[in-house]
């Protein structure tokens, strides 16, 4: 994430401490003074790992410290599930099906394999979905269930790990 903070003593520590408070692990801190920047602020980029579901808490703590978050970079999507869909996948607007997942903001279709035997025959596709958390994945699968029902597609879900 890219942070903007006051260029005064103790500010960097103030920005870093909440990360350890929420159990995060700092991988890199990039701290550069840019000459064209108004001279009372400092830009810092931090690469970090966070346990699942702690990002909201960290954002809140940083705001309390008066640190402005300019940008939260690529959040790695940690959960991956593969489903198979069978039916008239193209004719029922595949891009809409994919978009229903991608537009959630918390899950995305990361891979799609299709096999189309002949025109008018049902095709089969394998769709890999990534999501940030287990709950988000469950929500994404729920969306696919709804879409499959609407479009009369057969959705084959993975058998969850027994736990």
């Amino acid at each position: 994430m890219k942070l903007e903070m006051k260029d005064s003593p103790g500010q960097l520590v103030a920005a870093i401490k909440p990360i350890s408070d929420v159990g995060g692990n700092i991988i890199a801190v990039i701290h550069q003074r840019e000459p064209d920047l108004a001279n009372d602020t400092l830009n810092v980029q931090i690469v970090l790992e966070l346990p699942e579901g702690r990002l909201e808490k960290l954002i809140h703590l940083l705001k309390e410290q008066g640190v402005h978050i300019q940008r939260i970079g690529e959040e790695k999507l940690l959960y991956k599930r593969t489903v198979i869909m069978i039916g008239h996948i193209m004719h029922t607007d595949l891009s809409d099906t994919v978009d229903q997942i991608d537009s959630t903001g918390f899950a995305e279709v990361s891979e799609l394999s299709m096999s189309m035997p002949a025109i008018n025959e049902r095709s089969s596709s394998r769709i890999t979905i990534k999501a940030v958390s287990k709950n988000d994945m469950a929500a994404a699968i729920e969306i696919l269930r709804r879409v499959s029902k609407q479009k009369s597609l057969l959705l084959i879900e993975p058998l969850e790990d027994i736990a």
Partner: protein, 328 residues
């Protein structure tokens, strides 16, 4: 212990043969098939009866019917293995009630009565002080009821996952292994005698759902019905779908699952890792029980077959003799 046998199809024949062959101390005193019956309080000559059935299609006298036997014959245990009616459970429910009312134990392989009237029949048996046992209704030879009752006694059963229909498992195995289409695999299953002429019950997951209902009622006494099961069959699967699963080190199997904490009760084709214990070949059945102490236990075995199903029934008969010995 005297046994009245209702039904002389594949399962009934298996029971009769094993009782005749093994020295278990059982005497069959009455037998009925769909068109005839015979009674002999001194014990029926089983090999002669089976030979007659084979030759004439009748096991006895057309003047003696199944209801006559249930009501009047001299027996300790009614072994009810007549064909299943999944919609009404009749006439089997009536036979079972009549036997229980006479304070006779009942052992059945018949899914209809147990899935439709499990609670009522169990309560009735309890009131009459007799046993109602139905090991053979779920997963054929796999002793799942005995495991739940004894081996896992004291455990809380948190959920279960099973491959409970051998026909579907055979079709899916063949589609995965040989790249057959659904129709080709079904045709082959029919030729092998694994699928009925009308495969609807099997391929649309109804049979697996009925077994799931029996398990759920037995374990959690929750009164769920067939209509409560969310059900998807395998008849719309494509060979491509299996290939797409295969590319990921997975396959597709029809899985019945019940997880009360998540309100899940469903039968559906699922993507499953090929090295998962529930991925069994051919007509085999498999069942994973998730419990609080033992964690996961998976049982694998034959889900159908004449002698295989007789194994479950004989297990129930021996259980009854052991627990009600003086009377039975």
């Amino acid at each position: 212990m005297k046994i009245a046998l209702l039904g002389l199809g594949s399962v009934g024949r298996g029971v009769a043969e094993m009782v005749a062959k093994k020295d278990l101390g059982f005497t069959i005193t009455a037998v009925a098939d769909s068109r005839s019956g015979c009674m002999d309080p001194g014990g029926i000559d089983i090999p002669a009866l089976l030979a007659k059935k084979k030759k004439t299609g009748h096991c006895g006298d057309t003047g003696i019917t199944a209801p006559d036997i249930v009501k009047k014959a001299d027996y300790d245990v009614l072994v009810e293995v007549s064909p299943t009616n999944a919609l009404t459970g009749e006439p089997s429910i009536g036979y079972i009630k009549t036997a229980l009312a006479r304070k006779k134990h009942v052992v059945t392989s018949n899914k209809g009565p147990i899935s439709l009237a499990c609670k009522e029949l169990r309560t009735m048996a309890g009131r009459k002080g007799v046993a109602l046992r139905y090991e053979a209704t779920v997963a054929g030879a796999i002793p799942v009821m005995h495991v739940l009752e004894h081996g896992l006694a004291g455990n809380v059963i948190l959920g279960l996952y099973g491959v409970l229909n051998g026909t579907c498992n055979y079709i899916l195995t063949r589609m995965a292994d040989e790249g057959l289409t659904y129709d080709q695999a079904l045709l082959e299953a029919r030729e092998m005698g694994y699928a009925e002429a009308d495969p609807t019950y099997d391929v649309q997951g109804i049979d697996a759902a009925i077994k799931l209902v029996i398990l759920a009622n037995t374990i959690w006494d929750n009164g769920v019905k067939l209509s409560d099961v969310e059900r998807t069959g395998i008849d719309l699967l494509t060979a491509d779908a299996l290939r797409l699963a295969e590319e990921e080190g997975c396959t597709i199997r029809l899985i019945a699952e019940a997880i009360p904490r998540n309100h899940v009760l469903r039968v559906s084709p699922r993507i499953i890792a090929k090295n998962h214990p529930l991925v069994v070949e051919g007509t085999l059945n498999a069942l994973t029980l998730e419990t609080d102490m033992a964690k996961e236990i998976t049982l694998i075995g034959r889900g159908a077959g004449s002698v295989e199903t007789a194994s479950a029934i004989i297990g129930d008969l021996l259980y009854i003799r052991e627990h009600y010995g003086k009377r039975a």
